[in-house]
Subunit: 451 residues, 2 copies
Amino acid sequence: MNTKIVLDEAQIPKQWYNIIPDMPGPLAPVVNPQTLQPVTPDDMLPIFPMSLIEQEMSPQRWIDIPDEVREIYRLWRPAPLYRARRLEQALGTPAKIYYKYEGVSPAGSHKPNTAIPQAYYNKQAGIRRLATETGAGQWGSSLALACSMFGLECTIYMVKVSCTQKPYRKSMMQLWGGTVIPSPSEFTNAGRTILAHDPDNLGSLGIAISEAVEDAATHDDTNYALGSVLNHVCLHQTVIGLEAKEQLAIAGDYPDVVIACCGGGSNFAGLSFPFIADRAAGKQVRCIAVEPASCPTLTKGVYAFDYGDTAKLAPIAMMYTLGHDFMPPGIHAGGLRYHGDSPLVSQLYNAGVIEAKAYKQNACFEGAILFARSEGIVPAPESSHALRCAIDEAVLAKEEGKEKTILFGLSGHGQLDMGAYDAYLSGSLEDYEYPEAKIKEALERLPKVQL
Amino acid sequence: MNTKIVLDEAQIPKQWYNIIPDMPGPLAPVVNPQTLQPVTPDDMLPIFPMSLIEQEMSPQRWIDIPDEVREIYRLWRPAPLYRARRLEQALGTPAKIYYKYEGVSPAGSHKPNTAIPQAYYNKQAGIRRLATETGAGQWGSSLALACSMFGLECTIYMVKVSCTQKPYRKSMMQLWGGTVIPSPSEFTNAGRTILAHDPDNLGSLGIAISEAVEDAATHDDTNYALGSVLNHVCLHQTVIGLEAKEQLAIAGDYPDVVIACCGGGSNFAGLSFPFIADRAAGKQVRCIAVEPASCPTLTKGVYAFDYGDTAKLAPIAMMYTLGHDFMPPGIHAGGLRYHGDSPLVSQLYNAGVIEAKAYKQNACFEGAILFARSEGIVPAPESSHALRCAIDEAVLAKEEGKEKTILFGLSGHGQLDMGAYDAYLSGSLEDYEYPEAKIKEALERLPKVQL
């Protein structure tokens, strides 16, 4: 039997799956941070094109993928689904382990799945430039790639400390024609305000979002693009799960459990939503969102209205949150460091439809090394969270003597994350659990939304 | 029509193509550096297993690929063949441009195609450890990967300056369980001799080969593995060209010109040899080996017997050479820095069967940026030499108003070579042509072989 299950380009999905009509109850409104009242589509027009705003709240279950987007998807999609036979052997497990590998994209992760359509719809709307933020650089490099494909300019506010820690991802953005601005910067009010109080501020994702949103809102020819969290981002990522279902069907299999790492939530959404859709047909797949113990939004956060960014410029959303002024600890290796979580993923978790787990980073890297030495591929630190959980599920299956089919998302490769691997291999990578007292304190700063 | 032509795993070649019986004339003997007489298989046994020694001089046109090797190949093979439609559009050329992409391997290059069988045959021979050298790190990381797949230890003598310049590739070797030793080192006579005269020596590929060969020759449980140059390495790489031929046949095409970058020669051999084989059937494909102007072995070197390494431990071979004490200039960005060239490739070039071209590195990076912004993938600096030549052929076709089918080898991705891209983008990358006077001088140090 094949190690990889590979589809033909003609099998790239022609429609994205929109989970909104299948949600357990109505969506909470998105709230304007100034008025504390629900946003209207018009509120969003200064930073998003109408086509994406419509997708954000569409009641249609299936949304056509434009041909122009599918043309670019063809550069790397369909992404392979692997049966991890050598990992199964290394674990001695009776479980079947499959992984959907998104590291084959030019940027090395799943992020281009949404960067490409976002660039496309903005180009269609006559926009000349996109502004965005990036932390570890996976999203910024993906949007730079997408903009180069459609002839758009791209300005990326990159968390200052990451510019130093991840110089290669910064270079990739420039290689694809992007302009990288270390954040906080002097280019925006949001950045200047922070630098006035704290000139040595190393930046955070929340601050960088504030800068990018302000840049977009204050320039007519410029829109904003977000790499996760929003409904339309989750929508675009469903190509992952839709392909994986086709591929598992070819293998004659269906997963008992679907596992993906979860930061802003779009990677998890992309893999799991198409399987959650099968619940209507009576299929009871478990879906586990895996997050770092140092940014445990689902497992330790609260389900509440909170700001999307530090400067309170982005809309307020009902979501699991650690507080909008959350600063991830410097020791944290990977991405997955947003204070909040996708409202869709949050609602599903709150309704008990999905599960969540948090892992410390040394356990994840331990799993990643085992994986690299059996399957070859070097996992992204983010993806290693899902991988670690999949290993634990497989070991449990062995202990229980049960057959089980596990599908996990290998959302990217880790070839640009060698600094973190070095730290792990030299024993200097620290584990850190986000303290509950900090969350309690952050709760006092949540917006007081009354609808 | 598809952008990628993808084969099923069942179509991974079952045999490698051995060009030896199809060479234009008998092979020159390989010569023992001590006796200056032809080597016998027994001379090679201290460092190679008999199965590889047999492949080195086999008269069989087709050699079976062991099932255990094909099993590992399945982790990434068959590699995709792309039609570069977006690059064609960017160039406005009537030429069809295809590229065979080997960056999908876990190590990111074509090197595992031979690392895997070399590790396998050594494991079969009861060897416990492999020693090798690496420059930029592509080969060292590939052999570490291969050793981890077969449970072998791996010792890699890495050119000292590369340990600093390419820390990420060093980390990848360690991640796959390899032991990296900066070369020249205190662990071998070859290393100690050099350090005694020059404690600050930054190393070269020739020195690192000397150390690895000495390590293998002086330890019974240890063999040596070379990442290019040798006949069996070229043999293993023919999976590239064999797959590409199948894929082009599916597209209903056949190349007018096949282009690959050429350092030690195995990448060029891998893509081109299966097409050269078609000459017997009257197909007249041009094959162009592309090398850097800073290490112009074929285009500026001499065809002569020369040592394979600096310390004169490795066999003497008849090949194009710049002299065995060649030191590539520090400004040179990519790999492709071996002083010699595969004896097979050299003989074909000397006989006029293939062509060769040399390019300066700024022109190559210029092409690589155009490629990344149209096709997405970031090319390895080595591969950008082939890419640049393919662009020039496509532009020529436009000027001449001719249809033409171009196939080039994209032997790896460049995500770990961002330092070189940074230098190019900031305008600080220098061009350098290796001076002819240096070659003249080196000729005086060639071994005096009289057979």
